[in-house]
Symmetry: C2
Amino acid sequence: MEFSERILGVDTSELRGVLSLIKGGDTISFAGGVPSKELFPLDELREILLEVSGMHDAFQYTSSMGVEELRKELLGYLKERHGINAELGEIMITHGSQQGIDIIGKALVNPGDVIVVEAPTYFVALNTLQIYEPHFIQMELEETGLKTEELESLLRKGEKVKLVYTMPTFQNPSGITMNEEKRKHLIELAEEFDFIVVEDNAYGDLRYEGKRVKAIKHFDESGRVIYLGTFSKIFVPGFRLAWLVASKDLMEKLEVGKMTADVCSNTFGQYVAWKFMERNLLEKHIKRLIDFYKPKRDAMLEALEEFMPENVSWTEPEGGMFIWATVKNGADTKLLLKEAIRRKVAYVPGTVFYALEGGKNQMRLNFTFESIERIREGIKRLAELLS
Amino acid sequence: MEFSERILGVDTSELRGVLSLIKGGDTISFAGGVPSKELFPLDELREILLEVSGMHDAFQYTSSMGVEELRKELLGYLKERHGINAELGEIMITHGSQQGIDIIGKALVNPGDVIVVEAPTYFVALNTLQIYEPHFIQMELEETGLKTEELESLLRKGEKVKLVYTMPTFQNPSGITMNEEKRKHLIELAEEFDFIVVEDNAYGDLRYEGKRVKAIKHFDESGRVIYLGTFSKIFVPGFRLAWLVASKDLMEKLEVGKMTADVCSNTFGQYVAWKFMERNLLEKHIKRLIDFYKPKRDAMLEALEEFMPENVSWTEPEGGMFIWATVKNGADTKLLLKEAIRRKVAYVPGTVFYALEGGKNQMRLNFTFESIERIREGIKRLAELLS
C-alpha cells in the first residue's frame, strides 16, 4: 500500500519530537501556545448553552458558508476592530484558521507554485500548505515586519509568486507587527504582480500597548487579500471556529473547498459564538484576556532584562502570546532543549519555524500559559543555561 | 489569478442547480437526506449541555485523534453493532464522514490513481475525491450489492486499483445492502490485489427489518478496510462528528491529514457525544429513529405499489433513508424534474449519482423527511407525471 506523494512530503517528526519532550508535569513550559483554560467564560457560556439548547436549528446542518447571524456579527466586529469592510457573501466560517489555510491551498495552489512565507513563520501553516506541494521561498522579518523590499526585488527579477502567507500582527513566533507602510507596499506589489496575500490575524486582538493597526485587508481594493481570523485565541478553541474573508470571485471556489472538506462548520458552536457576540460578551472577554496576559508579558520582558546574558536578544511584542529570543554566539537551541528539560524549563527551538533553514540559535517563548512567578523562575533557569 | 487544477476539476454546478430547484415552500420534497429536526433529543441534550458546561477541557483544543473517552465509547458500539474489533489507536474523530473521505483522498490518492465507485454512489464523496484528481471507474450495483465479480475481472485484466469506495449497507442513493458473500469476496480481492476498501456506513444503524449484517471491516484481517461512521444520521448533524477506523499503519498518515486539515475536531461536541453515549442514550435514540422512519418507508413503498405505472421499478431497502426508482422507457428525470416542481413534488435526478455516466432515467426518493400523508400525495403526483 502506498501513500500519496503529498502526504509523504509533510514531515511532522521534528514537531512531534519537540512536543514529546515538553510533556513534563512540573516543567515550566514556555513551549505552548494554547489559551489558559481558567479564563474560559464558563458562567456566561452556561447561560448561552441553555438558550441554544432549545433551538432545533443549532443541531442541524447549516450552509457551507456558515450561520448567517454569526457572520453578520463578525462583519461588525471586523469593521470596528480591523477596518475591514466586507459583505455577507465575503465571509465564511471554517473549522479553525488551519482549515482556512487548507482550503486556500486546495483552491489555489498547484504543485510547484511559489508561496512566500516569513522566516520564521507559523509552522503548522507550513505543514498544511506543504500538502499542496508548493515551492516555498522564505523572506526575513525585521522589526517592522516582512522585508517587502526584498519581496519586490524578487518579483522584479521575474519570480512568479502565487501566495504570500503573512501573520502581520503579533506574529507567531516572533511577536513582530508589520507597519502600515509595509502593509500598503505589500498590497501594491500584489496588484502589480498579481498574487494573493493570505493575512492570518490570529493574535491581532490581543494588544497590550500601542495603537491599533488596520488589517492589510483594509487597504485591499482589488480583492487580493484573503483574511483569516479565529475565535481560538479570543473566545475558546474548543468549537474550532474561525472565519475567512475573501472577494466573491475567490469565495466561489473557496466554498467548493469547504463543501468538499466537511460540508459545513459545526452549527452548534456557531450558534453559541453568535449568541456570545450578540450579548456583547466578546469585547468584554477580550479586555479580560488583555488584563490577564499583559502582566505576564511584562514579567517575561522584565525577567529577560534582569537575567539574560549579553549574548541573548529578544523581541518586545506589543501583543500576542510569544517572545522570540536569539542567542548570538551560535548556540544550538535544539540541543540545548534537552538540558533545559532537565532543568525543568521548556521552549520551542527555532528551526521548526523555518520553511527552509534557519533558527538554529533561536527559540519561541510563550508568556500566556505560566504564572508570573513561574515565568520569572523559568527565565532565570534559561538564563543560567545560556550563560 | 488562477485557481488550482484540482478545484477546477470539481463540478458542483449540476448539484447546485438541483438544490436551487428544490427550495419550494409547499413542495413535497423527496430530495433531501437531512434528519428531521423534530427528532433531535433536545431534552436529553439540555441536561448534557449543562453537565458539559462545567468542564473546562470541553472548550480547549484536544488531540488530533479525538477525545479518548468518546473513542472508547465508540469502540464498544462498533463491536456490539457492527462486529468491528478495534483499538484506541485505530479510531479517529473527524468533522463528518465527509472529512474522513477528504483525509483518505489526501493521504492515499495520487493524481491518476484508480478509484472504483459504485454506480450509482453518494455524489458528495465523488466531489471530495475528485479534488485528488483520481481516475474513477464505476461499477454497477445489483440487488445484492456491488458486482464484485466484475471488479475481479477488471483486476485480473491487470487494472491497478488504489481504492474501492463503497456504502455497503442501505446505500445512498439506492438503499441496496451488500450481502455477506460479496463482503468477503471484496476483502479477498483487496488482499490479493493490494487495494484499500473505504467502507462508508452512514446509514447502517437505521434498519427497519431483516437481520443485522456485519461490517466489511469485520472480515478484514490485514488492515485493508478504512471504516467510516457518523453521528449525523443517528444523533445530530450539528456537531459535525464522525469516526474513521483504520489500521495503525494507515492511521499514522491519516492523522497527519487530520492535523493539517484543522488540528482536531471540535472538543465540545465530542464531550456532548461522549456523555450521550455514556448515558446509554444513543441506543435509545436509534430505536426512536427507527420507530419514526419505518412507517414512512412503508408508506412510500405502499404508495409506489399503488400508484406507479408499470414502466417504473424501485428498490425495497431494509433500512436507511432512500428508495431508488428507475423509469424503464428512457424518461429523462432531469427534464421531468421541472414539471415535477410545477406539480409541487421534488426528487434528485439520477445522473448526479454517477461518477461517469448513467442514471438519466433514475431518481432518488427520500422517505424520512415528509409526513406519511405527504409521502402518499407526493408519490401520487409523481406517478401521474410518469404515466
